[in-house]
Symmetry: C2
Subunit: 122 residues, 2 copies
């Protein structure tokens, strides 16, 4: 988060901008997820990027991290109420994107996109 914004949109994009954060947001609701689980769900992300994005989202108050003192270690990530409220807004944007891809001509959505239900709000 920055210091000064001239528009709420800047803040929103600051918080979920970049390549990964909105995809992570999808996966953390309604069920909490473990680190490894999340890594499998967010296709293509590296551990470095995942932990980095999670830490930023935690600092921004969107994500809660719950560590259990066990062996082997277990950590669960979930959305805060603020995170949930934001995730709820992304549905229309996702639908717009799908329609856009379609109109722009073609088979740009990969086949398993539907079965992965990445865009279906939980």
């Amino acid at each position: 988060m920055r210091a000064v914004y001239s528009c709420g949109l800047e803040a929103t994009f600051d918080v979920i901008g970049g390549k990964w954060k909105c995809l992570i947001l999808w996966r953390l609701h309604p069920d909490a997820r473990r680190f490894g689980e999340l890594k499998r769900l967010v296709t293509g992300i590296t551990e470095k990027m995942l932990i980095q994005q999670l830490r930023e989202m935690e600092a921004d108050g969107l994500v809660r991290r719950q560590a259990y003192p066990e062996i082997p270690p277990r950590v669960e990530y979930s959305l805060t109420p603020m995170g949930i409220s934001l995730k709820e807004l992304l549905g229309p944007l996702c639908e717009w994107g799908s329609k856009y891809i379609e109109q722009m001509g073609g088979q740009h959505l990969c086949e398993d996109a539907e079965t992965q239900t990445q865009c279906v709000p939980g």
Copy 2:
């Protein structure tokens, strides 16, 4: 625009991601804008970034460029129906951002943000 997306959201962010595009989107509707006018409205942007973003948005089918063969030259930029439909979705995101800034503690919105009406859909 890329080749393959696993989710409509990726496409949406591809199209309005980055620092400037959503701010430009605000300013191109409902009234068309000239280049210089736009440059003044989008505070802080350089000519290079402005023309670069406009070209990308034009290639993505969000923006229409209309050049008039006059001296001195005149060029007007406006939103396509697709661009308008996207802009319409950004309102809630902007409100979320403003509320977020407020809750996160403070005076992060610069004073003239309100008077600039950057977040008020035209």
